[in-house]
Symmetry: C2
Subunit: 483 residues, 2 copies
């Protein structure tokens, strides 16, 4: 039997934190005299009440830390319970959202997906806009923390490749891990403030700059405008967004190491190089396509391609234009690119670059082995041999990722969605990108019109993708709950 008490204690603490976070949008609304501040106050009270009960009823009952099974339950439960309560303001506010829509929006926020069901953002109250940004910002730092501490311990999908001193539980390691976490949070905050300042300088309004900075660094993609970043029509704003979306896609561990005296690791890291190489390749291809086959002027093509490709590849999900109207090549490329994601230990989701590297190294060896069946070949990652267990784990992840993608796509089509909406919806959910493709959920569209079962399925896909599949799938095994 799994002891749920320490799990519920932590969930309670997180709910209390969430309630505290709700005070910010309440203040924002109160400041402009919008009565929605009451919505946040009520939601905060409700969330604090439940969180408080959980904390008080389990406090002191749990001793001796969290076991492996408990860690799996805790991780999944957190990402289920938090959006459940984070959805309350969306439902209570004057947005005419039912609970399905409210939950979808909250889930899309916390997982940094960025798919939205809200139409009319330009005229929405500041509280709601801030709440959406805040959810993504908290979700972003939450996932970095998870990738740093929890996932390598759980050995999920090859993440043990990134096990570091912080998951070592010896006496000495703990203070170092705490220091590391503090640095990570500090840098996350620093990047956000820098990004907001640059947005402001580039011409955004103060509130918009803060809200966008939060969702840029989190590679989330919620905007304060229905037409997303395309609203501003300002190249400098595009540039700031591109830079900080890329910053959000690199491993935060390397930033910490950089400020602590090893900046070279950032450039020498193979995952970073591959990621930037892929981005450069896709942006170049798309730019050339726009120039030579669609007759777009060079600078415009580069700007549009760079912004929207980076937005999709990093899973942010902003758009400056409807790239769905760029023709077959753009749509098909964007679809493929959705799966890539950024680096491990960043705020991005998707298959992630290090897994593609492990898969490539392994496939390369298989082809070479064909010619020398008795040859000994060892795959390398960042100059070190990749342990067999990592390769196997990554491959299983890749297989399950595509299996889940297909299952969600088929499920969505059963809910009544057409082919392109179903497959791009499944891809955008499991990779936490944001918009899909096609006329309904594409960059110019919105998820509001989808049937309720499709929304729940998409929300489930976001959870699966965000928790690297295994963390959720393991809970579905009957043997998990036995013994």
């Amino acid at each position: 039997m799994i002891d749920f008490r320490p799990i519920l204690f932590i969930v309670g603490v997180l709910l209390a934190t969430l309630a505290a976070a709700m005070v910010l949008p309440a203040v924002a609304d109160a400041a402009v005299g919008n009565r929605d501040w009451q919505v946040f106050a009520i939601s905060a009270a409700l969330t604090l009440f439940v969180g408080g009960i959980l904390v008080l009823s389990t406090r002191g009952l749990a001793r001796g830390g969290i076991g492996l099974r408990q860690a799996f339950v805790l991780t999944t439960l957190c990402w289920l319970v938090i959006p459940t309560f984070a959805a309350l303001p969306f439902m209570f506010a004057d947005l005419k959202l039912d609970y399905t829509d409210a939950f979808f929006e909250a889930k899309s926020g916390v997982t940094t997906t960025g798919a939205t069901v809200i139409v009319g953002l330009d005229h929405a109250a500041p509280g709601i806009l801030l709440w959406r940004a805040l959810l993504q910002w908290l979700g972003g730092i939450g996932i970095i923390a998870m990738a740093l501490v929890v996932l390598p311990m759980l050995q999920v999908g090859g993440m043990q490749l990134f096990r570091m001193e912080s998951s070592d539980r010896s006496e000495k390691a703990l203070p170092r891990a705490a220091q590391f976490a503090a640095w990570t949070g500090f840098l996350y905050l620093g990047f956000t403030l820098l990004c907001a300042a640059l947005y402001r300088l580039a011409g955004m309004g103060g509130f918009d700059a803060v809200a966008h900075a939060m969702t840029t660094i989190a590679t989330g993609g919620f905007s304060t405008r229905d037409s997303s970043v395309g609203f501003y029509k300002e190249p400098l704003i595009d540039l700031v967004a591109i830079i900080f979306m890329l910053i959000g896609s690199l491993p935060f561990v390397l930033y910490v190491r950089a400020v602590r005296g090893a900046p070279g690791m950032l450039w020498r890291d193979e995952q970073v190089r591959w990621f930037l190489g892929i981005v450069l390749m896709v942006v170049s291809a798309m730019t050339m396509y726009l120039v030579f086959l669609r007759g777009v002027a060079g600078p415009d093509a580069l700007r549009m391609a760079a912004f929207n490709v980076v937005s999709v590849i990093t899973g942010t999900g902003y758009a400056t234009t409807d790239y769905g109207a760029w023709g077959g090549f753009a749509v098909t490329s964007m679809f493929c690119v959705m799966f890539i994601g950024g680096c491990a230990g960043s705020t991005t989701c998707g298959i992630k670059v290090f897994r593609l590297q492990v898969l490539y190294a392994s496939a390369n060896i298989q082809v070479r082995r064909l010619l020398q069946p008795n040859g000994v070949f060892i795959p390398y990652y960042n100059g070190k041999p990749i342990p067999d267990a990592v390769t196997e784990s990554v491959m299983a992840f890749f297989f399950l990722f595509l299996l889940c993608f297909m299952a969600i796509a088929v499920g969505l089509s059963l809910a009544g969605l057409d082919f392109i909406t179903a497959v791009s919806g499944a891809a955008t959910a499991i990779s936490n990108v944001g918009p899909g493709l096609g006329p309904i959920i594409g960059p110019a569209g919105n998820f509001a019109s989808l049937p309720d079962p499709a929304k729940w399925l998409l929300a489930a896909g976001m959870l699966l993708g965000r928790l690297e599949l295994f963390t959720v799938l393991v809970l579905l095994m009957p043997s998990f709950w036995r013994a």
Copy 2:
């Protein structure tokens, strides 16, 4: 340096055989007084001439068998040179096909894909119709022979799992292997004749029955009618087709073992069980969808679902109706199902069921390992532990299969195809299915209107899929040609 002489010798022998095969459609045309017999006579002469030169100029120069590198070159070269010459009748005949179209049709025939660029089959000369059927029939037995002898030796994509006495090169094994090959050919012919007889009894004309029998057992899918098997509107014909498409999708090795006294192996084989289980599951789901969500009457729904699902899953590519018009669920499911394919050692293509089993077994173990990081888990296939080398090879295959699929899809979209045509075209080519999805290349469409670059790319995809990727990819490595 690779000695090309023994390779060219075998290619020459195969071309001479191809020339001999061209006599059959020549006779068919001559019998009905169609002047197209001259087309086949000229093509045969040309093919025989080139084949003869190759044989005569290399005869006696090659001794001591074929090495590993030579086997890779030979395999790919055969599947390139044969369609090159098999295309001649398509170009010379009165079909108004240029060489691109003719090559596409020949390639689609030999690889048992079944995608066609010919419109007006109902009024075509018997010679051309017979030639199309013959190409698929020869391609079908060719691929079984390859799966039996060549691929396990090359250890391609986990096919070493099926290495048997026939690829053992000892003195004793050779007569046994020859006997095995003879039995396989005999059974292939027997199934074809039986299928033709049943088609005839079910109401097909004599010629159509023979032509369809050849393309059914080869899971090829070329029909003598523009509206494919849907032309006949006869449930019994549908039933015969379903049965023999399934027969063509099971491992022929097991048929040989069955007639030699071990029929039980056919039912006990895990690959066969999984394959039939998947077919049953998809057919049931599609039937229920048609009945409950599309209002189709039960028996009609079952018949339509069974025929078209089996046709797509086995990669045959017949159609009795435009399932593209069945709505999102049908289109999305058919898209997913395209990748599956049948069993190893059959005439089908695609990822194949045994690979899905290996991937599933491995993923299952990865999930279980999460809970017991130090536990020892061994994946099994057909009651035997799966060697690590096989698992790694299968996983590399899966990764490269999807990478190639995406590359072809992006390439097709660059040639001007829209999203659904590009992705379904790439899937149908690499899995050797036949029709794609969407209004252009869907079951009610035709590949004729595609731009030439798209046709060449699709033909390349068919080759890649048919030769299990590795056989072709290894030739692209610079190191293959060194030393």
